[in-house]
């Protein structure tokens, strides 16, 4: 989308240039999703389609409430419904899935196209579609299985955290639409403070493991959850317990890059040095004569 100024870019994919640092006042924003208040109405899904002007093709139902059944290039958020048998209780855990806007984004780390993924100083991670080449590396980098590549235009899509709304002081469309105020939006500090109140309330109602999901393995996220069972995030339809960028991606996009280029350069330099010190391996006149002798010997 790239609706914020270039002054507001903190990181840019596949770029070696230093980002601008003159602006110091960046406020960290966050969306807080209070899973305990969600009624699964999907108003957020509708608002997301509406604001972002996306029209998903008519899908199918797989017999659950999950509809669509997964994130798609045109469905940037979906409600995931999980049934959890907690002793005698059946708990219906409903999680609004979508991009978590990691502070250390694996998608951005993996992306090979300069400027196709940016992270703004406020923490929002955004795909700049015009620069996307459709390689799918962001999919491999993401610890949350979020980006989706379109079969129509081979570009990657995901939640923008409504960066176009946020940049003019508005809350994301999903937060605006939520009828139970299960989705809050504001500064990350305020959201953490608000989550503390909610957690105290949940604990007083018997959810002794209630807590905030702001996973440190990815540097924290700019979309956070209040969970009744924060000790078991995976209860919520596969929310990772301890998300982090895969070590394979870390190696591939980390030490391997400079070491590989150095090895190739070394091989070239070694060849050049060998040639100027040892010289070429040439066939001498006497070699030719001996070859001829061998030929004649055969004839004799």
């Amino acid at each position: 989308m790239a609706t914020l100024q270039s002054l507001d870019i903190r990181r840019r994919s596949a770029s070696t240039e230093a980002p601008p640092q003159v602006r110091q006042s960046a406020l960290q924003v966050a969306k807080l999703i209070d899973v305990s208040k969600c009624i699964g109405c999907k108003a957020c899904q509708a608002a997301c389609l509406e604001w972002n002007d996306l029209r998903a093709p008519i899908g199918y139902t797989d017999g659950t409430y999950d509809n669509p059944t997964d994130l798609t290039p045109t469905s940037w958020t979906v409600m995931r419904f999980a049934e959890y048998e907690n002793g005698d209780d059946l708990e219906w855990l409903i999680r609004k899935d979508g991009c978590m806007h990691c502070d250390d984004p694996g998608c951005l780390k993996a992306c090979p196209a300069p400027g196709a993924i940016v992270q703004y100083t406020n923490g929002i991670v955004d795909f700049v579609s015009e620069n996307c080449i459709g390689c799918g590396y962001c999919v491999k980098g993401c610890p949350f299985n979020i980006p989706r590549i379109s079969n129509v235009d081979r570009k990657a899509y995901k939640c923008t955290l409504c960066v176009d709304r946020v940049s003019v002081g508005q809350a994301p469309a999903c937060a605006k639409a939520c009828p139970t105020q299960a989705i809050y939006f504001g500064s990350k500090d305020d959201m953490i403070a608000h989550a503390e109140h909610r957690i105290v309330d949940l604990k007083s109602r018997g959810y002794k493991n209630a807590g905030l999901y702001d996973p440190p393995g990815v540097g924290g996220t700019h979309v956070m959850y209040v969970l009744h069972h924060a000790d078991q995030p995976s209860l919520y339809e596969g929310l990772p317990d301890d998300p982090r960028i895969s070590p394979m991606v870390g190696f591939w996009k980390g030490v391997m890059k400079p070491i590989s280029l150095a090895a190739i350069a070394f091989a070239g330099v070694f060849g050049f040095l060998h040639y100027i010190t040892k010289g070429p391996n040439e066939v001498s006149e006497s070699d030719e004569r001996k070859a001829d002798d061998m030929m004649k010997g055969k004839g004799a």
């Binding site: 090979p112 459709g134 799918g136 590989s260 091989a267 070239g268 060849g271 040639y275 070429p280 066939v283």
Partner: protein, 209 residues
């Protein structure tokens, strides 16, 4: 082999065409692959019409390379089996590098270094083809898990670097050992070259009726 000519036939026209298709596709693959591997080489995508085009065309060149290299493999693999003299040659690699080949065992059509290039590229191209299929999302996205794709990305990049390093050795050897390149450009080498570098092969050629 007749005494009238002073050259020895080394590669047929078909083998030469096969080799150069492989060579061109390997170079194009290295350029487009490196463009997507390191940000400071992304500019190489301009050679292929931009980032999207590079992403789209790279796997197709890979298919060309795989087929073409398979042709080379079946042409030459029987000549590349490891023999006792190859071990002796490798133990004397220092002499070879110092251009002092006297006293080394007589060699057939290929020396140990050439055989290692052959087998190295055979294994790496097989791995590159396999991991490349896993990474070719346009057609094969649905068949593997994301962790398998991550592993494929690492394997693909490592093997590509290995193949590029072997390619550098291969090209440098042709520059260093004079008289070699004409084998692949004209199909023949001089008698002296054959006698010096591949005497056992030369002897066999001489003894051909």
């Amino acid at each position: 082999m007749s005494e009238g000519t002073n050259v020895v036939a080394r590669y047929t026209t078909a083998a030469r065409i096969n080799h150069w298709i492989t060579a061109v596709s390997l170079i194009l693959l290295a350029l487009s692959g490196m463009a997507l591997f390191h940000p400071s080489l992304f500019f190489l995508t301009n050679l292929f019409g931009g980032g999207q085009a590079t992403r789209a065309i790279h796997p197709w060149i890979g298919v060309v390379l795989a087929l073409s290299f398979a042709g080379l493999f079946f042409r030459f693999f029987t000549l590349n089996f490891w023999r006792r003299e190859d071990t002796v040659w490798m133990k004397n690699l220092g002499k070879v590098i110092n251009n002092k080949e006297e006293g080394l065992p007589e060699l057939g059509k290929y020396n140990a270094g050439q055989k290692l290039v052959f087998w190295g590229q055979s294994i790496l191209i097989l791995l590159l083809f396999g991991s490349g299929i896993v990474l070719w999302d346009v057609y094969f996205e649905q068949y593997t898990t994301v962790d398998q794709k991550r592993l494929a990305a690492v394997v693909h990049a490592l093997c590509a670097i290995g193949a590029i390093l072997i390619w550098i050795v291969h090209v440098y050897a042709a520059i260093w050992v004079k008289g070699t390149l004409r084998a692949m450009t004209r199909g023949s080498v001089t008698r002296g070259w054959s006698w010096k570098h591949h005497r056992k092969w030369f002897r066999q050629e001489v003894e051909k009726p």
